[in-house]
Subunit: 325 residues, 2 copies
């Protein structure tokens, strides 16, 4: 049933390497020189030198960036033709296996100075995803109106189970539907299909609206890297709720407020302080170190550390952040 290939295929490993610093989730991007877009770091997968994707990934990340990644998880494999246009397109087809990796800023201070790469706040690429200061203005000022036009001019698309109107409702929480912070990828894909992000234009898609009238919707990235980043954010936001992955982003010791701010930074919304604390406590995810942090303005806060052994007790110890405010 299997045949040999006719077309040469290259396999690249693309990594969304995440860290949180100064209450901002940040993503490692390859230096965007003047005129170039930012891009995620990636390396070729060579099956001869590396037994698995993950080993391959860890290897070239270590070699190229000297960054220490902890948690690593495969996201998705992207192979669409026409969604990774390269200036020097060789004709060879490229598929990329996307990975999510987590690291601690503090572990990499030195490494970053010499690398030709740096961590950028991820909301630069997705400004509409940051609801920590309330509903972002860009939604009602720009995105929703443009998408509503796109809904109006929409001819029926037989292969799509949902109509344009319903997709807009679900993805962007229009008309009574709640905002779901996990639908990061769905939102990006909708904007792409509507031709409203720069990548869509670059890939030759026509927008329903006059191109000149579309202001830039977040910073664009090279190839389909913004799509991979959207996948990474969505996955991380979801995983947060049932696995203790936040701690991969925290220093050894931290206060509960710092922990809460990190979760808020990632999920892009505010959490109820007391409920968050109760949750952390009842899940027994952390233990006090006894130390107390020299205040950041008010009363000193108790320091905590992650209890590495919870993973052995509870089946799904995440932080099921629930309600609003």
């Amino acid at each position: 049933m299997a045949e040999a290939h006719l077309t040469p295929i290259e396999v690249g490993l693309t990594a969304a390497i995440v860290a949180v610093e100064a209450e901002e989730p940040r993503i490692l991007v390859a230096a965007a020189r003047s005129g170039t877009r930012a891009g995620l770091p990636f390396g070729p997968f060579d099956p001869l030198s590396h037994r698995t994707f993950e080993i391959g990934l860890r290897n070239w990340v270590a070699a190229q960036t000297a960054i220490n990644v902890g948690y690593v998880e495969q996201l998705y494999t992207f192979g669409d033709r026409g969604r990774h246009a390269r200036p020097d397109d060789t004709g060879a087809h490229m598929i990329s296996v996307g990975y999510l990796a987590l690291t601690r800023m503090s572990d990499n201070a030195a490494a970053l100075r010499e690398a030709q790469a740096g961590f950028e706040p991820w909301y630069r690429f997705f400004p509409w995803e940051d609801w920590r200061d309330g509903r972002p203005g860009i939604l009602d000022q720009t995105i929703v109106p443009l998408l509503e036009q796109w809904v109006k001019i929409g001819k029926s698309e037989p292969l799509r189970p949902l109509g344009r109107r319903e997709r807009l409702r679900h993805c962007f929480g229009v008309g009574g539907s709640p905002w779901d912070e996990e639908k990061v990828l769905d939102r990006y894909e909708l904007l792409y299909e509507a031709g409203l992000v720069e990548e869509a234009a670059r890939d030759g898609r026509v927008a329903g609206v006059a191109r000149a009238k579309i202001p830039p919707l977040g910073e664009a990235m090279r190839f389909d890297h913004r799509r991979i980043l959207a996948t990474a954010i969505a996955r991380l936001r979801a995983k947060l709720k049932y696995r203790p992955v936040v701690f991969e982003l925290m220093p050894d010791e931290f206060t509960l407020t710092e922990l809460q701010h990190t979760v808020e930074a990632i999920s892009g919304r505010h959490l109820h302080k007391q409920n968050f604390r109760r949750l952390v406590e009842s899940a027994a995810l952390v233990e006090p170190t006894g130390e107390t942090s020299t205040a950041t303005g008010g009363r000193p806060a108790a320091q905590f550390r992650f209890r590495r052994d919870v993973v052995q007790e509870r089946p799904a110890p995440g932080l099921r952040v629930g309600g609003r405010a």
Copy 2:
């Protein structure tokens, strides 16, 4: 940052095509001739003829099997060297992108007769996953004792965050931990690592126990196909709870009991009748057709159909099957 490849890589698309018939979840397998193991259908991905993986997959499935697949979803990309040994190994490296596809038995009656493939109950490959008649005997008679030996002889593995004992507890619900029907892949991987499945021996792994003493643990498959199937089952069991995917496996009209039996078949456990019905009703996933099925022994049951429009109303209309019984 990206370099060209040195090693030729082939990309295959491997499909776990699922249907449910006679209260058994079934998987399409390529005919296992005498002496050959069963295998999942797969085809090469040719980027020249197909713009995306999914199009490629649908195409060769249609061409090879004449089966009509509805729902399709990417699972994972498998690239481990040494986990897909082929008799005729060419030295070329092969990676496979695994896909889950759902279909209705009734749609394919004719197609199956001519194809050199058939649907096999998936619990033949994973007998320990079917808890519909209570905890399967193979667990306490064979699997757990063997894994306990493996725990005993285990030297510490520095790279693994969890010890062998804890992994056994979590995966197989030993010692107070509950059985989690979604951990299908984790369980298979544990058995593989412990050298207890045939595939592990074939890939050159040594078991901690004398090989002769290990009875076969479910039917083995070719290459790493059983691993892909485990991924598919796990994903489907999880997805069931927050997306209305069951209906991709149901005929147009069905009774609530048939629906329940289908969910039970997939998740491998019994559900509480009343709660299941309330759930379906409160989620407004179905509507009565008015018809009533000519009884299968007792009182005639009302027929229902899936309300295709729910997807437009509710954000996550699944069947969050909860408790026991």
